[in-house]
């Protein structure tokens, strides 16, 4: 990956972008960490709310249930730290439960409050299809493909072009260079239903159409697992690392520069 964020635009990089993966005690951050490292991200694991404040970007992966995730975050004091981080405007990436936890609640754990940052709810799949929804499925972007993404299904374009083309207007920054109709990996029984359909960054069909990714300003979250989604998934993570670097470079430094 090129030095993120410079690209001749005169932005001076003074340090590596600090990406923090939140560890709320549920284990198995192996694949997420491995994927970020492969994408050139300077990642660390955080189990302590004190570490969150210094991060440039935060990743909340999904393991266990909504109740476990909310409970784990609350117990470790991470819940307030994560909410505060998101409010500060710095980039947030939620994966699977890391998406669901943005909502006020989930049918998986009635009465357990989530972060309540994205209005709406998290519902259980119903109907005749197999639950959990496990395996590969496609994502469709609002407005479909564009001139630079002609074919469906192959995953990503020429990697050399990544980070050069801006995403088409209205497309979530992590989907830059990713084709409309790309395959990604899902493993879930519950899906998000945002109140505002405009926050849906991709749609997936499984018995019905649901929002498989959410994007609102600095908040990006996927119901699928980019870290297990081969080339298309790695492109998304690379894009998030670049997004985090751009935002960090554009932000006034935290007192470490005059």
């Amino acid at each position: 990956m090129d030095t993120p964020g410079d690209g001749g635009r005169g932005i001076k990089m003074h340090r590596a972008t600090r990406i923090l993966i939140v560890d709320y005690g549920m284990g198995n951050l192996h694949s997420v960490r491995k994927a970020f490292e492969a994408c050139g991200g300077a990642v660390a694991l955080a189990g302590d709310p004190g570490e969150v404040a210094a991060a440039d970007a935060l990743v909340v992966p999904g393991v266990g249930s909504f109740g476990d995730c909310a409970g784990g975050l609350a117990r470790s004091g991470m819940k307030d730290a994560v909410a505060g981080f998101i409010r500060s405007g710095r980039p947030y990436l939620g994966l699977c439960l890391g998406l669901q936890i943005l909502f006020p609640s989930s049918e998986e754990a009635p009465g357990v409050p989530g972060l309540g940052i994205i209005p709406g709810r998290v519902r259980r799949f119903s109907g005749s299809l197999k639950i959990p929804h496990v395996g590969w499925n496609t994502i469709a972007f609002p407005g479909g493909g564009d001139a630079r993404t002609p074919a469906r299904g192959a995953g990503v374009q020429d990697p050399a072009r990544l980070g050069i083309d801006p995403p088409p207007a209205g497309r979530c920054p992590i989907f830059r260079g990713v084709q409309d109709g790309a395959y990604v990996y899902f493993a879930h029984s519950f899906y998000p239903e945002p109140e505002d359909p405009a926050v849906s960054a991709s749609a997936t069909e499984y018995g019905m159409t649901f929002a498989s990714a959410i994007w609102k300003d600095n908040i990006i979250a996927t119901q699928f697992h980019p870290e297990k989604s081969q080339r298309a998934g790695l492109a998304m993570i690379r894009n998030f690392v670049a997004f985090a670097a751009e935002r960090a470079a554009a932000r006034p430094a935290n007192g470490d520069e005059p």
């Binding site: 549920m26 284990g27 198995n28 192996h30 694949s31 491995k34 994927a35 393991v63 266990g64 249930s65 476990d68 299809l129 197999k130 639950i131 959990p132 496990v134 395996g135 590969w136 499925n137 496609t138 299904g153 395959y183 990996y185 493993a187 879930h188 029984s189 069909e205 499984y206 697992h225 297990k228 989604s229 081969q230 998934g233 790695l234």
Partner: protein
């Protein structure tokens, strides 16, 4: 869309890739990490990695092998074989397993399935069921444990329903009558299990031709097909398997 999956299965003993017929007569086939990497690159939808070692020494070797396979692939990794406790599952997950398959230990203590589902989510819990034809079982199929050595008298379909209720997220039923024979999946058994539950079922044991894969899905009602001999011996590539299924109207990730 419900895409059907092709899942290569790496059986290992003492850290080496092996394959047997009807659960015996093992042949060594090489390094599991190399095979895993090749399958991941070739378009496998997932990898299943099973330990059929019976010794504590071999178990430690297996954890190391899981780490090596996980480092080389970028698709989900399901790991099983001798998985006996939550602690063991944690260890395997730390080594890079996305999902763990429990088998004998779940038969001995069904509560393990519920505990694992509560701790790691249903999506992460696979229950492997080894079966053989049995006249005394109501469905005609009996559960066997201990690597196919110990008949339990339990009905396989009944057991599948029960583990679904306990929170299992996938069932992997393997017919030891068919395994390694390349004569096709045990379709009546696979279908009986698939039709009895609402969670995904992976057909396993016996695939030798492309038609067998199609039959597992179309006749066995499976959501995914496990492939071992047909893939390891280079009979067909993953791509050829998928193109065949697609040509017969089965949705696959190409």
């Amino acid at each position: 869309m419900e895409y059907r999956r092709i899942i290569p299965c790496l059986d290992t003993k003492d850290g080496r890739l092996v394959k047997g017929v009807n659960f015996i007569g093992l042949k060594e086939l090489g390094d599991p990490a190399e095979s895993g990497a090749a399958y991941s690159e070739a378009g496998a939808d997932e990898i299943v990695f099973l330990d059929i070692t019976a010794t504590p020494e071999g178990r430690r070797t297996f954890i190391k092998a899981v780490r090596q396979v996980a480092a080389r692939i970028n698709v989900p990794l399901t790991v099983g074989g001798g998985v006996g406790s939550l602690r063991h599952i944690e260890e395997l997950r730390a080594a890079g397993a996305s999902r763990c398959a429990v088998n004998t230990a779940a038969v001995r203590r069904p509560g393990l399935v519920r505990e694992a589902a509560e701790e790691f989510g249903s999506e992460a819990v696979v229950v492997a069921i080894d079966t053989r034809a049995s006249e005394s079982a109501p469905s005609g199929f009996e559960v066997v444990v201990g690597g196919g050595r110990v008949p339990t008298g339990m009905d396989a379909v009944e057991w599948a329903r029960r583990v679904e209720g306990l929170g299992a997220g996938t069932i992997l039923p393997t017919s030891m009558d068919a395994d390694g024979t390349k004569a096709g999946y045990d379709i009546p058994m696979t279908r009986a299990v698939s039709d009895a539950v609402k969670i995904p079922v992976i057909a396993s044991g016996g695939a030798g031709t492309l038609e067998h894969l199609y039959d597992g899905i179309a006749e066995g009602h499976a959501d995914a097909v496990l492939v071992a001999s047909i893939a390891h011996y280079g009979t067909y590539t993953i791509r050829q398997m998928k193109e065949y299924l697609a040509s017969r109207g089965v949705p696959v990730r190409l």
